[in-house]
């Protein structure tokens, strides 16, 4: 067992974990933050994307012990319970950027990271390139791309 201390969605967390625990398992099973999903479990689909020290990573390919001493943000950390949605979440709702919703937490965490890196004025081409690591099997991506472009602009206003 290994002792880990990290910040999850702004809250300090201390835990004893088996060193082979994946970050996504730790988030879902220990902390019950089930918004982060396990899709392919092979670092391809992006349903498990969270932010580690502010950068998008695949939590199914990160060991919880590797996050010791670091800061993690999950989809639950974007907007407080009962508070208005984060502008990127609101954009996905507004523009119908989801159907079944399974890939959505990963899509949104990737999208927020993308805006942090590349700004608020994103072309469809850039958005599509940047979504290389996030798979959606329902929407055909059209509305996801629209949502991200709109969410990026909305984030500029709310910042």
């Amino acid at each position: 067992m290994a002792k880990i201390s990290l910040i999850v969605n702004g809250n300090p967390v201390n835990a004893n974990v088996d060193s082979r625990t994946l970050l996504v398992q730790f988030l879902r099973e220990n902390l019950r933050l089930t918004g982060t999903h396990v899709g392919c479990d092979t670092s391809q689909c992006g349903a498990c994307v969270v932010h580690l020290d502010g950068k998008a990573v695949k939590s199914c390919t990160t060991l919880a012990v590797m996050a010791d001493g670091h800061e993690v943000r999950t989809i639950e950390g974007l907007a407080a319970d009962g508070a208005p949605l984060h502008p990127m979440q609101e954009a996905f709702r507004e523009h119908h950027g989801l159907q079944c919703g399974f890939c959505t937490p990963g899509m949104i965490m990737t999208a927020v990271d993308l805006v942090n890196r590349k700004g608020h004025d994103l072309s469809d081409h850039v958005i599509r390139e940047e979504l290389e690591g996030n798979l959606c099997r329902c929407t055909g991506y059209q509305n996801i791309v629209t949502s991200i472009a709109a969410g990026a602009k909305a984030m500029a206003k709310s910042a």
Partner: protein, 267 residues
């Protein structure tokens, strides 16, 4: 995944000592190759030595006339580094095309080289640019470092600390992606160096990265895609699988070398 003990050394020396003490230990940095194979139980190291918290091991800097990239520099850092962009833009582009954004936030240059995956991008750059791989024990030339599929000259307790790239006059990397995996079906890195021209090919060789000497000879006379008319790669020793035959890969080597030379001369 089988159980293991996790170690987080603060220095390369501590990391090397852990490797000496624990013979079956494995080094981890980004973990984007090792964690998946451990999940599949294809690897079951009893000890993991995490290099990602060793200070200064991810530094990117110019030293004299060489670009020096620390072993734990992430693909995203290399892709966006103004130092790399200035010194060897082709290398920054290559790093920006590895995997996807989340993978680039974790994967490291040292990890990619130590793994020597036959479809990885970095080995082509290291071989074409004639880089030197520096470890905690010695300096290795690219051609002595790569030793076939997933194998390198690294000893059990040897750790890559940095990679030194001499600056080329011109360089470009073009890859033809497998449409599903997005890995390089074939990738060609072309470098016009002060003394010679090197063409390194990844993805195609059944023994890993290699130099396409016929193209190098032609380009030495004149660095232009026009001199490549009639030059072709042999299908011998190339991979043949459901993604493409050896002949198809040989054809791609020719096409991509031309495109890479065009891209390098256009810069």
């Amino acid at each position: 995944m089988y159980e293991f003990k996790y170690h987080r050394p603060a220095t390369v020396r501590q990391a090397a000592n852990l490797l000496v003490k624990n013979e079956d230990a494995k080094v981890i940095a980004g973990g984007h190759t090792l964690v998946p194979v451990m999940k599949q139980r294809l690897a079951s190291p009893p000890h993991l030595v995490d290099l990602s918290h060793i200070e200064g091991l991810d530094t990117i800097e110019m030293k004299g006339r060489s670009l020096v990239i620390g072993a734990t520099a992430k693909h995203a850092s290399v892709a966006t580094s103004p130092i790399v962009g200035e010194a060897i833009p082709a290398l920054a582009e290559l790093a920006g095309g590895i995997g996807d954004p989340a993978v680039r936030h974790k994967g490291t240059i040292g990890g990619s080289l130590a793994n020597n995956d036959p479809t990885a991008d970095y080995p082509a750059a290291v071989l074409a640019l004639g880089a030197t791989i520096v470890t905690n024990k010695r300096r290795l030339k690219a051609e002595e470092f790569f030793q076939g599929l997933f194998s390198t000259a690294l000893e059990n307790d040897e750790i890559i600390t940095k990679v030194m790239f001499p600056l080329p006059k011109k360089a470009a990397y073009i890859k033809f992606r497998n449409q599903a995996s997005r890995y390089a079906l074939v990738g060609v890195f072309v470098a016009k160096r002060p003394s010679d021209v090197r063409v390194a090919v990844t993805g195609a060789g059944s023994d890993g990265v290699f130099r396409a000497t016929a193209f190098e000879e032609a380009l030495k006379k004149r660095f232009s895609h026009k001199v490549l008319d009639g030059v072709s790669a042999s299908a011998e020793g190339l991979n043949s699988d459901l993604h493409g035959s050896a002949e198809y890969r040989a054809h791609l080597i020719g096409v991509l070398t031309r495109r890479a030379v065009e891209a390098a001369t256009a810069k």
